[in-house]
């Protein structure tokens, strides 16, 4: 079970990193996100995404946020250049 959990974590980390780079202008070379950390650029971007998409702004990867990131969408970014 712990192994699955780690694998699942790994997937969500990759998903969120990719999503924030694609749609919220997260710099490509940002250090990979660590779930426990409360601050840093990725958490700020998670907050920005949650606010834009009308989710609870927690800065955490809760299930609503993960569900939203897995929904089909437009490929144009939500913010930035």
């Amino acid at each position: 079970y712990p192994v699955d959990r780690a694998a699942e974590d790994e997937d969500s980390m990759e998903l969120v990193q990719q999503y924030l780079e694609n749609y919220y202008n997260l710099a490509k070379d940002t250090k990979p996100f660590v779930r426990r950390r409360d601050g840093g650029p990725v958490v700020e971007k998670i907050r920005e995404m949650q606010k834009f998409l009308g989710l609870a702004v927690t800065g955490k990867l809760d299930s609503d946020t993960l569900d939203m990131m897995r929904k089909p969408r437009c490929g144009v970014p939500d913010v930035g250049d």
Partner: protein, 378 residues
């Protein structure tokens, strides 16, 4: 709403578009129709007009592609990214790309092409994403949307009009009287559950629901329909109509009552009308028709009389041989008698009493059963 950084927008109001290739998921005419309806959504609320070209350059080039398709923005296979588009400008700018690893459909059983096209073309016109979940420009695809009730949100309208302003009022546009008709004992109530209609027609992207002396005028851009006396727009027309349809390519609405019919453009009743319905090719046994709808892809008009129907070729201007046929034969699930009918989004909508059926003419099956009043935002 947001616009792209630097607020790029088209410096002209007439734009050309070209469909570069087609998905194999849908018939070509369904793709043509979805794109045209999607452009109409924006045309309705701006001064913009669009014309299609099938060769050479175009402002907006529409294409289907999978994975890497030459713009450094590869698609990602089924799901996730459905499409993308580029802001106004030359070259790739203005173009809209659709991921052909999605299953493109006319309804919502797959990914609805009309809906995604209306969103992507919003980008082609200069809109960026909206944070309003009700807005068409919200980035996440809404799998639960009811197409029959689709309309732009106020946020979408505010956004596009911040770039191009509102539509001009053209001289022959039916200018609504200063106020709708106040409801009273003799006026039909929009949300009466037993509400039925005499006749229904589209008119320049809007839908007119006729009942007794009145009609509701429903636009895709507003929640509430307007409610008016027929005589306030067309004083010479009778009330209690039998049928109506819009010959879209001629910008004419034909109105039927008894054995006569009229032709109107905007608020103008055309000279030489009314004419007898038998000039269209009906036999003398037909004294009136129940309903009519125009299929803009086929350029044919379907007339419904009792349990039978005729088909009229608008290009040849003649009734087609081999008719009448039984309605049940070609429209399984649609019971006679039909009170009113119209075509929108590639579907036929049939009204009988307080019930309405949405019919897919390609699948030849009923796809939705609704209340007749469902378009009136009840």
């Amino acid at each position: 709403f947001t616009t792209f950084p630097g607020m790029p927008k088209w410096r002209k109001t007439h734009l050309t578009y070209r469909i570069m290739n087609y998905t194999l998921d849908l018939p070509r005419d369904a793709v043509d129709s979805a794109i045209e309806e999607a452009l109409n959504v924006w045309k309705e609320v701006t001064p913009l007009t669009f014309s299609r070209t099938d060769e050479g350059e175009a402002d907006i080039k529409i294409s289907f592609a999978v994975r890497d398709h030459g713009d450094f923005n590869p698609f990602d296979g089924p799901g996730n990214v459905l499409g993308h588009a580029y802001p106004p400008g030359s070259g790739i700018n203005g173009d809209a790309h659709f991921d052909d690893d999605e299953l493109w459909t006319r309804d919502t059983s797959g990914t609805n092409l009309f809906l995604v096209a209306a969103h992507e073309l919003g980008h082609s016109l200069g809109l960026f994403h909206s944070a309003d979940p009700r807005a068409l420009m919200y980035p996440v695809y809404n799998t639960l949307i009811d197409l029959a009730r689709f309309r732009l949100s106020q946020d979408d309208v505010n956004g596009i009009q911040s770039l191009y302003g509102p539509p001009p009022v053209s001289p022959d546009d039916p200018v609504a009287p200063t106020e709708s008709v106040p409801s009273g004992p003799e006026t039909p109530a929009a949300c009466d559950p037993t509400l039925s209609f005499d006749a229904i027609s589209t008119l320049r992207g809007e839908i007119l629901f006729f009942k007794d002396r009145h009609f509701w005028r429903k636009s895709l851009r507003t929640l509430e329909p307007g409610f008016f006396l027929i005589s306030s727009f067309w004083p010479s027309l009778p009330s209690g109509l039998d049928a109506a349809y819009e010959e879209i390519s001629k910008d004419i609405v034909f109105i039927f009552k008894g054995d006569q019919f009229w032709a109107i453009r905007g608020t103008e009743v055309q000279a030489g009308y009314p004419k007898g319905i038998h000039t269209l090719g009906f036999p003398a046994t037909v004294g009136k028709i129940d309903a009519a709808l125009f299929d803009k892809e086929k350029k044919k008009t379907y007339f419904f009389v009792g349990d039978k129907y005729w088909r009229f070729d608008e290009k040849r201007q003649s009734m087609e041989p081999g008719f009448p046929k039984e309605i049940a034969e070609d429209f399984p699930g649609v019971d006679p008698k039909v009170d009113a009918a119209f075509e929108m989004f590639g579907f036929y909508y049939f009204f009988s009493g307080s019930s309405q059926l949405e019919f897919d003419p390609n699948a030849r099956q009923v796809t939705h059963a609704l209340k007749s009043r469902s378009w009136l935002n009840c």
